[in-house]
Symmetry: C2
Subunit: 375 residues, 2 copies
């Protein structure tokens, strides 16, 4: 591949500019160092920042740039300024972006970037040790995008409803993404499909379709079905039991991926991808798979602008972007290795640098500097 | 009060008969020891046991007995024999029972029955210490009881849907239950109302109605609103932040109450109540509040019938029954104190008895014996 167009949608709010800047430096570094590819970066307003600038969360110019890009790197979109009660909120912009770009597969790994981070998990270390889960969440269906009725509209004042809806096709395609991820993991993973089939019709269709798709198309993958309530329990009591790919629908995935993300010790470390297909596999007729990459942490208004936020979640999102959307596995691994080295304790041959969220006092830029240096 | 009619619905499956038998002994003991009240116990088939016996989970005779009772004590209703694929399943029986009896308030405390149980929590003890949450879940609305369409029905083969629906009245009455529990706790608790108001219309009505009801009717109670995804995160990372009453709708409550229940170290210890009103307050014109009481653990097929299951969850459910439905606070406290004494370590002046789930080797009947003896 000669060049990879890359749109960088900046969410110019709270901690985001600081951490996104570090990830961009890292991308520029790997791009400059390579003769095989060149990244073109563009910046566009989105979310709260766009509301402040032009009065809407997703300006047409930003949407167009995203549609033309091969991948999108994003900060966090919210902040207390644009809360649930605000007139114009950032969430509809995010939901429209996901839907318009067809980003149906949300992928969120929850595993330890470094052994030494076990000291930061809220679980007993022996319970959290070796947790290695990847949540694959259906992102543009279900309760999020079904019809709904607000309570304050005639004729039924005082009653609200939301519709959860799924088609066989929607379930098939997300199942295939989960299967690709399970197969290309090293070693291959099993799949845990999560639903509420003892109550919901959508979940019964989910269970049936996942079983049929995996049995027919991926007979080599081991899988099981579990109920969402029991999964939330097991994820705290014995999370290793859920090691593998956790495949689930939009709302359950929202809850379970947030729950899973605190197990590896710091939210600040975790990346995520929202894609309109399965991760790219390098091949003869390679085509990029459009994806939006963002750290899973929020806009952290308490520390925003202080220069102490952890940029690793965004840097690892950039690595994921290279691997999943652009098929550039080598520089992705180089970034991940550099991050590990920067985080690892000295005795493991690393620098042991830590931002405040991990009990250290290294600031955002220093951590970025070190990752770039190691690269 | 002279006599309290009490229907005991036996779910004659798996661990249930064993543990329910111990709770019944405890109830009989407090009833025999008191001159102020007398309990009448009846046994009726329900759930899996009823399917096996008469082909349906909720026989008309059982429903009638429940409607005429002041309170219902139940075992766990399921088991692998009546799984999601079975033709006749126990869940519809449970959902019909809840709906017919109007049991709209599900109440599940998650706190440590005894300090010494901190050693069993999957969290770091310093993180789980002093956790004291009570989940109040709306139980007969939302996605559980909205209209739904199975995928295999014409004309839209391949598409399923479920409707989440809430009225202002439904939200008001569960908010009042949460408020009563918050106020009568010692010391009074705050309320955390959980929703997904940044996406769902039902959640926006929820948030508005909770705010209005609490502000108008219970100005003395402190409350806040939190999103369900973030709550699932905080419940692992820093659960004490959620100390208080966690007020939420049916599906979120299903997930969060299961998640919360593993924090205090053993599922086997926790009781639950499903009521058609707020817990009874002893008063001049006392009337029982109908409630169904059950341990929160499942039917534990792996240990069923071995006589080693933990009966404490069911015994504490019986205590909850006395206090919440019958207004009998004194015998309820006596049972809870006895349980604490039986569980506490010797150095705390207790017996330190433990069933297998807590790493001990005391069997079900022995534990029941000891509670009765201490009483
Ligand atoms: C901001 C919100 C609409 C969003 C969601 O619920 O999908 C967020 O929680 C997420 O998980 O990306
Ligand atoms: C058995 C099932 C239908 C039920 C529910 O989802 O309400 C159970 O999980 C519970 O929480 O009591």
């Amino acid at each position: 591949m000669e060049s990879a167009g890359l749109t960088w949608v900046e969410a110019n709010i709270s901690v985001c500019p600081e951490v996104v800047a570090q990830a961009v430096r890292v991308l520029e570094t790997v791009s400059a160092a390579s003769k095989d590819f060149e990244l073109k970066l563009e910046e566009h307003p989105f979310g709260g920042a766009a509301i402040d600038a032009v009065g809407e969360p997703l300006p047409a110019s930003t949407l167009k740039a995203c549609q033309e890009a091969d991948a999108i790197l994003m900060g966090s979109i919210g902040g207390p300024k644009w809360g649930v009660d605000a007139k114009v909120r950032p969430e509809p912009g995010l939901l429209t972006l996901r839907k318009t770009l067809g980003l149906y597969a949300n992928i969120r790994p929850a595993s330890f970037a470094s052994e030494s981070l076990l000291e930061n998990t809220p679980l007993r270390p022996e319970i959290a040790k070796d947790v290695d889960m990847i949540v694959v969440r259906e992102l543009i269906g279900g309760l999020y995008f079904g019809k709904r009725k607000e309570a304050n509209v005639e004729p039924d004042i005082g009653t609200a409803w939301d519709n959860m809806i799924y088609s066989e096709e929607e379930i098939q395609r997300i199942t295939r993404v989960a299967a690709q991820i399970a197969l290309t993991s090293n070693p291959p993973m099993e799949i845990h499909s999560i639903d509420k089939a003892n109550v919901l019709a959508c979940s019964r269709l989910w269970r049936k379709t996942v079983t049929e798709t995996l049995t027919k198309e991926y007979p080599q993958i081991k899988f099981d079905h579990q109920l969402v309530d029991s999964t939330a329990m097991v994820m705290v009591a014995n999370p290793r039991k859920l090691n593998g790919v956790i495949l689930t629908e939009n709302l359950f995935g929202d809850i379970l991926s947030d729950q899973s993300s605190v197990i590896p010790g710091s939210l600040g470390l975790l990346p995520s991808a929202s894609m309109n297909g399965a991760p790219s596999q390098p091949s003869e007729d390679f085509k990029p798979t459009l994806g939006l990459y963002e750290p899973i942490h929020g806009s952290a208004p308490d520390i925003a602008g202080k220069g102490i936020a952890n940029p690793i979640g965004t840097i690892l999102s950039a690595a994921m972007l290279l691997r999943y959307s652009l098929g550039l596995a080598k520089p992705a691994t180089a970034i991940e290795d550099a991050v590990r080295k920067v985080l690892d304790l000295e005795k493991d041959g690393g620098y042991g640098l830590r931002t405040a969220d991990l009990g250290g006092n290294v600031c955002t830029v220093e951590l970025g500097d070190k990752v770039v240096e190691v690269l």
